[in-house]
């Protein structure tokens, strides 16, 4: 276990297997809240925050509870319940401790429960990282690093895309392509550019 593992995990999660452009997770917020840069930043901060906590909690739950008691097949049900209650808890906690943080993240938090990126990363951690032999702490650290990289990648793309979209609003697009279709094609071109990063590692 060395620093290189974490660097690889974070770069591969952020740029190479980008959560939006390569894995297609979290498309709804990608198309929904990316009309304004400020909303995009708020949403991606909330996603990053919840994603890191949720992947730590779900990894722990799987390793220490579900696997130990021989019930890994209910992981989907357990994870979605844990994520839903976690989001609720984080919302209450932020509301109590930091009013300014709540103001900037508050309205995005309820949307996150049905954001497939969170559940997708939690499930992905189990299929890609978890093995019967890996020590708990090592697996947990890699899972959290992957979640951090995924959240950063989500923020990078959604912010870049919202900037492009603000320009797109002002440009003269044919009627049939206005709105979602042209946004999808722009995302396709961005994805094409990110395909070129596959050779980094």
């Amino acid at each position: 276990m060395s620093f290189a593992i974490f660097a690889t995990a974070i770069i591969s999660a952020m740029l190479i297997n980008n959560v939006i452009l390569m894995q297609f997770l979290g498309i709804c917020p990608f198309l929904g809240v990316s009309k304004k840069s400020s909303a995009a930043i708020g949403m991606s901060a909330a996603v990053l925050f919840v994603m890191v906590i949720a992947s730590a909690v779900t990894y722990t739950l799987y390793d220490l509870v579900l696997y130990q008691y021989g019930i890994p097949y209910i992981s989907t049900i357990a994870f979605i319940l844990v994520i839903a209650s976690l989001v609720q808890f984080v919302e209450m906690f932020i509301k109590k401790t930091s009013k300014s943080l709540y103001k900037s993240l508050g309205i995005y938090l309820p949307l996150i429960t049905t954001n497939c990126a969170i559940l997708g990363v939690s499930e992905g951690n189990i299929t890609n990282i978890w093995t019967k032999t890996i020590p708990y702490w090592e697996g947990l650290l890699i899972a959290v690093t992957t979640a951090l990289g995924t959240g950063l990648g989500f923020g990078l793309i959604i912010f870049a895309f919202s900037s492009i979209r603000e320009k797109l609003e002002a440009s003269n697009v044919p009627d049939a392509w206005k709105g979602v279709p042209i946004s999808l094609v722009v995302a396709g071109i961005m994805s094409l550019a990110f395909l070129g990063l596959a050779g980094i590692i």
Partner: protein, 256 residues
């Protein structure tokens, strides 16, 4: 709404993907080939129908404040079931769909139907709605899948991921069949647009299909607007004529 309308509305009028943009993640992720799209669509049909039936059956006993978590647990149960069945009977499909089988849980379409339809209607209507909406979703996925696979390889294959009814993978349709009438040994897949089987192709293919839908809708709207304007002009003309006649009558009466 009759039962037939209820069943058919999911295909074009209220298509989840093309009209409401619900469930976009699987629409982009699993549509690289015709078969994976069909497989995913059928899984969604099953989950949506069963969850609709159960939600509408137990709707009286679910308190209003905790209905969303209750629906999610019901949906997650059926998703776990279909995940296990797929792993047992179609392992290749299970591996190809990967994380998108558990992610059916957070598909907005299923929770949306539970909330908007099944929690207010009877069991039979909810079941019909589930099958119709699910098949509409499948239809959309299959359209995207066929477009992408055709552009990427020049043909449509069956039997690689869904090992039902066939022993070995077969080609349903391929441009080779047509081109090889005139020449020999031509392999269309050498000339395929490979990018359409990769992630960028998913975005671009869905963008093209949505643009076609938007174009048709815009044309329909324009026709409707023109018809409305013509009707208004006609009404105006009739009203003006009446006015003229009234004025003429008045003038005649005044002349006397």
């Amino acid at each position: 709404m009759s039962k037939k309308e209820n069943f058919l509305k999911g295909f074009l009028k209220e298509n989840p993907i093309f009209v409401f943009l619900l469930g976009m993640c699987p629409a982009l992720a699993v549509t690289a080939t015709f078969e994976t799209s069909l497989g995913m669509g059928l899984l969604v049909v099953f989950v949506l129908t069963s969850s609709n039936i159960v939600v509408s059956a137990v709707k009286k006993w679910i308190p209003h404040d905790v209905r969303t978590p209750a629906y999610i647990v019901i949906i997650a149960t059926f998703v776990t079931v279909v995940g296990m069945v797929t792993e047992a009977y179609a392992l290749d499909l299970y591996l190809a769909l990967g994380v998108f089988i558990p992610l059916i849980v957070v598909n907005c379409l299923i929770l949306g139907r539970a909330e908007a339809f099944a929690s207010k209607n009877t069991v039979v209507d909810s079941a019909i709605d589930g099958i119709g909406m699910g098949l509409g979703f499948t239809f959309a996925l299959v359209v995207i899948g066929i477009l992408r696979e055709f552009l990427a390889t020049g043909g449509i294959m069956y039997g690689v991921y869904l090992p039902f009814f066939v022993d070995a993978p077969i080609t349903i349709f391929s441009l080779d069949m047509i081109i090889n009438l005139f020449t020999n040994g031509f392999v269309i897949s050498d000339y395929g647009l490979k990018v359409f089987s990769l992630p960028p192709g998913a975005f671009i293919a869905l963008g093209i299909i949505l643009a076609v839908f938007q174009f048709k809708k815009a044309r329909k709207d324009r026709k409707a607007a023109i018809a409305k304007m013509e009707r208004i002009a006609e009404l105006k003309r009739v009203a003006l004529e009446k006015k003229k006649q009234a004025a003429l009558k008045l003038a005649k009466a005044g002349g006397k």
